[in-house]
Each structure stands twice: as structure tokens, then as C-alpha cells.
Amino acid sequence: MPEVSEQFEQASPVVETHLLGRVSLERCLNLQQRLAGEIGGRDDGKIALLLCEHPEIITVGRGGSPDEVASHSQALRSRQIRVQWVNRGGGCMLHAPGQLAIYPIVPLRWHDFSVGEYLDRVQAALLETLDELGVQTATRPGRHGIWGRTGQLAAMGIAVRNWVTYFGAYLNVCPALGMFRLVETDPLEGTRMSSLAAERCGIMRMTTVRSILTGHLARTLGCDRYHLHTGHPSLRHATTGQKSEN
């Protein structure tokens, strides 16, 4: 019954999810932009989802300022943490192992999502994930991000090119939190970054969070199905042996 199969494919785009392990921001950004170009040229609504962790780096989004980074701190200098301007929304963010970087590549026009609706859907997936994990959360009116008892748990910052999204959201699962004091992620709110491990006062496995999030994200983006891939062919050399299982 190839016709039925074809109709099903058209009605239900697949989320191709790539678990990249630990990968540099530069390599991951190159991959995102390549996938965004490819997806923008398709007519099947395919979504790619990249899940990974980055080595320590600070990014400054279009809404951020270098003043929000304690650039003269000894800790930043001694650990040689780079500060990089990026073309996503949002402000300054520190990325580190233990933080789950969530990069959905979504053709907005195909799915008939406005930018605001897309952001709301990604945030809803994060909230549902944390709810399933038993973490109490809060949001702030007029802002995208998720807060817990101990501080901010997730931040969002997306880019849209030719109506295809890249960049996405960052969820602190179990990073070392000390370095986050060096970055003022949300100057208006003045709250510290925290993590799911701090909320739960215990171990939080990255693999568990990743698994739960993938299902919620596929559903909130209107997809019935997702495929899981370990790594991505173009990053094979970068990800071999570097999977985080924390």
C-alpha cells in the first residue's frame, strides 16, 4: 500500500534526532546551518533535532552585552574560556558539560508556526519534561526560560534564517555551577543559573533527560514520530568516544 504510506509520511513529519555527545560550538553551529539550508529546500516538513553538550564557552547573543561577562576574572583567564558573539536571540550564556544543548531545526512556514508560537512550543516541551522528572518549575510573563526553586534552569535563544530555525534552548542538567556566576544570563531578573541536579539534590542523568525531552519535543512540534541517531556523519570524528553518560 505505497499510497497510504506516502500519505502518512506527508501527514506526519519525522523528527530526525541526532545525539551528538560533546561537540564544540563551532562544529555544531556549522552542522545546524547546513541542516537549516537543506531542510529549507525540502517540502516534507522534516525536522532535525541536535542534542549535545559543549565544552566550556561563553556566547553572547544579539540581546547581550560583553558587560554581562566578568571578563577580567581569574577563573575565566585561567580556564581559557572563550567568549564568542553569535547571531541567536537572548543574552549571554555559559555553556559547559552537563548542560544539554537543544537545537531543533524546524521549517516554520511548512508547519505554520509563527516565531512566538515556535518558542512557546519548545518551552512547553521543556516544561513537560521537567514535570515528568518531578521538578517544580515557573515561567516569567513576557520572557522565555524556565526557573526552579534554586534558580534558572533553562534559557532559550534561537536564530531564524529563511524561516528555518536553528540554535534553540539550553537546559542545565548537572553542570558544575561555579562558573555560571561569571555570566549575567538575565540582567533583568538577576537570578542565578541552577540545575536539575541542584533542584533534586541528587544525581540527574543526562541520558534520562534527553530521552524524555525527545518525545515531548516531537509531540509539541506536531510530529508523531522521531528517529534516534547516535552522532551525525559529518561529525563522526568529533563525537567518537565522547558521549556523555552522566
Binding site: 529549507g40 544579539r62 540581546g63 513576557g142 520572557r143 534561537i158 531564524v160
Partner: protein, 84 residues
């Protein structure tokens, strides 16, 4: 000479200010359909607004840092004779 405009679509982020962030091309530059012309910042989203046609950017109608509203004309693109 056919002229098209880049206008700000409805982004559904009305509770956050939308600002012209960065011009990606200069006045007089040729642009292709789909090529990013202006970055617009709306809270957690930075959006490259693409050119609707192959042409030349003839007018920047807003300045970087200016607050924008949905439906506002942002740039004028003149179609190159013989293209599209």
C-alpha cells in the same frame, strides 16, 4: 521598475519589543531571493528577514536599534531588469 518591500510579519511576540538589529547588506548591494537582508531581534529570537526577490537594496527604511511593529515596511528592493 518593479519594487518590492520587506515588511515585518506577525511574529506573535507582542509582549516583547522588536528591534531592527543588524543590516546584513548595504544600500546598492545585489541580493537574491531568500537571502537575509536585515536581522530583527525579538527577545529570545533573532530573525533574518529575507529578500522576496532577486534585486538591489535601494532603501533602508529603518535604522539599527529602531523599535518595529508588525506590517511595517523595512526595506525597498528593486528588481533587476531581466531577473525573475
Amino acid at each position: 521598475m518593479e519594487v518590492s518591500y520587506i515588511t515585518l510579519p506577525r511574529l506573535d511576540v507582542e509582549d516583547q519589543p522588536i528591534t531592527a538589529c543588524l543590516w546584513l547588506v548595504e544600500r546598492g548591494d545585489r541580493v537574491t531571493q531568500g537571502e537575509g537582508v536585515l536581522e530583527v531581534l525579538a527577545g529570545a529570537a533573532n530573525i533574518e528577514l529575507p529578500s522576496p526577490i532577486d534585486g538591489v537594496l535601494t532603501k533602508k527604511l529603518v535604522a539599527e536599534g529602531e523599535t518595529l511593529s508588525a506590517g511595517q515596511k523595512l526595506a525597498e528592493i528593486e528588481r533587476i531588469v531581466g531577473s525573475g
